[in-house]
């Protein structure tokens, strides 16, 4: 059934594509979608005039070096337990990573969830700082952890809202994107209605999709159909996990804890209304406030090794990984230069894993 369905969709997309007078670019917005596309080699069963490109859907990748440097700055100077997810601990800056600090005796702990960090805080004599990363999918868990008000649990928030980045990317107008495959689990939280303002502003069709190869192929089919029949809109293919209103309780928790600021993204510069700082009400849990004095002498530096890294261009959908001069030469999953090669959701890492480039 699965193979039959996928090939049938491939056939239908090919038939539809003959009605197109141009090459169209469809951007997916989730590293897990890139994983599905590469793992099942879906690009090979799509017609040549339909190109699937990847966007900024990797929360580890889009965090700019300044956040990483600040976290390094903190653990060098304050006696804390630093918790984070495994992907983040491997991102290098100037030859160092959180794993490097761990090897040098600093207390860095990899956690599966923020709630594990809370448990560590309950047992620890030292303050625990969780390096909180992720889009709306992950932010409610951090919010719930902060709302527990565990005394020595703090968060360095590098959380970012995803939808403003879609808006920002389209406002740049540098790539003609004709359809979006929207991220399934960000959508589980924000709901399908949340994309309507972006649709109204730019008129580009969007399909919220799940992560099976059938889901992705169906999303491409729905997008191509919407383009040809001139019926753009926000469509939801992932109805089994995404409601129109999203997860209201999760959104409430997120809004209670996090504010909104203009924050930098790797490869994008400052994206308006995309940053999620911890609200003043919870400043006892905000690592930036609690350790304010530690950051007083912080000065950001440049990582010269990253000068040739084009992770930012990959995140903006301007190039594919093999267009980068470092890809699989100076930059490999074993010795990555930029985060796109580190994270399991980074397009470079996914391509390196599955090959076929």
């Amino acid at each position: 059934m699965r193979k039959e369905f996928i090939l049938k969709l491939s056939q239908k997309i090919k038939e539809l594509s003959q009605e197109l007078d141009r090459e169209i670019k469809i951007m997916h917005l989730c590293g897990t979608h890139e994983d599905t596309i590469s793992k099942y080699n879906l690009r090979s069963i799509l017609p040549e005039n339909i190109r699937l490109i990847s966007g900024p859907g990797c929360p580890v990748c889009i965090i700019p070096d300044v956040d990483l440097q600040k976290v390094f700055h903190l653990i060098e100077r304050a006696n804390v337990v630093l918790t984070t997810f495994g992907d983040m601990a491997r991102v290098p800056f100037d030859g160092k990573s959180l794993f490097y600090y761990s090897s040098k005796g600093h207390d860095v702990k990899i956690v599966y969830s923020v709630f594990d960090a809370v448990e560590i805080a309950k047992e620890s004599d030292k303050p625990v700082v969780h390096f909180g990363i992720g889009f709306e999918t992950t932010m409610p868990s951090t919010a719930a952890a902060i709302l527990d008000e565990v005394e020595n649990f703090h968060v360095y928030s590098a959380h970012r809202y995803f939808l403003p980045a879609m808006d920002f990317l389209l406002s740049l107008g540098e790539t003609r994107i004709e359809g979006f495959i929207n991220p399934g689990h960000v959508s589980t939280i924000v709901g399908s209605d949340a994309y309507e303002p972006i649709f109204e502003k730019y008129g580009i069709p969007q399909v919220i999709a799940g992560f099976e190869p059938e889901d992705v192929m169906l999303a491409v089919y729905m997008l191509v159909k919407a383009i040809i029949e001139d019926r753009p809109g926000v469509y939801n293919e992932y109805t089994r996990a995404v409601k129109a209103e999203g997860n209201v309780k999760a959104k409430e928790a997120m809004n209670a804890v996090f504010g909104v600021e203009d924050w930098e993204w790797r490869g994008f510069g400052v994206v308006p209304a995309s940053g999620a700082p911890i609200r003043e009400k919870f400043q006892d849990h905000d690592a930036l406030k609690v350790f304010e004095s530690v950051f007083e002498d912080f000065i950001p530096k440049e990582d010269v090794r990253k000068r040739a890294c084009r992770c930012g261009d990959v995140l903006r959908g301007l190039i594919m990984p093999d267009d980068c001069p470092l890809f699989m030469k100076g930059c490999t999953p074993k010795d990555p230069v930029g985060p796109c090669m580190v994270s399991f959701e980074g397009t470079c890492n996914v391509w390196a894993k599955y090959g076929g480039y």
Partner: protein, 71 residues
């Protein structure tokens, strides 16, 4: 990172539940969902249940897929 997987709720110790993911059991926080009962399925991401999933909804996608096949 944004991966979420469905699992079956086995035991509840609010705000956490023991959830089985194809046999592997993990403690998952469930209090950002309206109500969760033993035997129901949830979608978990990084230790948090982010949505309930029902068998009917899973069936619904199969219907949608079937409908396209027959178009």
């Amino acid at each position: 990172m944004c991966l979420a997987i469905p699992g079956r709720v086995e035991e509840i110790d609010y705000p956490f539940a023991l959830v089985s993911f194809g046999g592997a059991k993990k403690k998952i926080r469930i209090d950002l969902l309206d109500s969760v009962e033993v035997g129901e399925y949830i979608l978990a991401h990084a230790g948090l249940a982010i949505q309930k999933v029902s068998e009917e909804e899973v069936m619904e996608i199969n219907r949608l897929w079937k409908q396209i096949l027959e178009e």
